[in-house]
Amino acid sequence: MLRSELIDKLHDDNPHLNRKEMERVVAVVFESITQTLEKGARVELRGFGTFSTRKRDARIGRNPRTGASVNVPEKHVPFFRAGKDLKLRVDASKG
């Protein structure tokens, strides 16, 4: 499923809103999640999962081709952990 297909489904359910407005709805939701992560905070969606960020410590990396060592600075990465309910249901859905 693509973002555009999600918008189509929501639009079918809510014909009183035009498609442009539905695009904004989806944009606002994911922008809110992004801004929360930018603050270093979490988004907890019970039954679905939790978005958070994780710190990756600085390390000395190596260029695999030349073997030269490079400093890889500290990084923060977005992280998603599926909630218990979704996790169990997805596992049960495997053929």
Binding site: L6, V25, T36, A41, K75
Partner: protein, 101 residues
């Protein structure tokens, strides 16, 4: 960091404020978005949200696990798990907001 954790209610609030949907409609919309994503994953589909990230499924084989404390061998059954890969845009925004320059 658990300060400032937000939930469905806060996402609904942002729709109420920024789009002007009613509070009830905002809450329903958040629920629908979560349900459509979950349903797609339950059908075995990958969910690609441009600018945000991709949810996909991975089937893991059965393997032998070990209780790290007791050393007792326990089988870990095959299972299907959800993987989230953040988009390049999301990665960059999070990293530039949180990592020291």
């Amino acid at each position: 960091m658990s300060d400032g954790t937000i939930t469905r209610a806060d996402l609904a609030e942002s729709l109420y404020k920024e789009i002007g949907l009613s509070r009830l409609e905002s809450a329903d919309m958040i629920e629908s978005i979560i349900n459509y994503i979950s349903e797609a994953l339950l059908r075995g589909e990958t969910v690609k949200l441009a600018g945000f990230g991709t949810f996909s499924l991975r089937d893991k084989n059965e393997r032998i696990g070990r209780n790290p404390k007791t050393g007792v061998v326990v089988p870990i059954t095959s299972r299907r798990v959800i993987i989230f890969k953040p988009s390049q845009v999301l990665r960059e925004r999070v990293d530039s907001a949180l990592s020291p320059k």
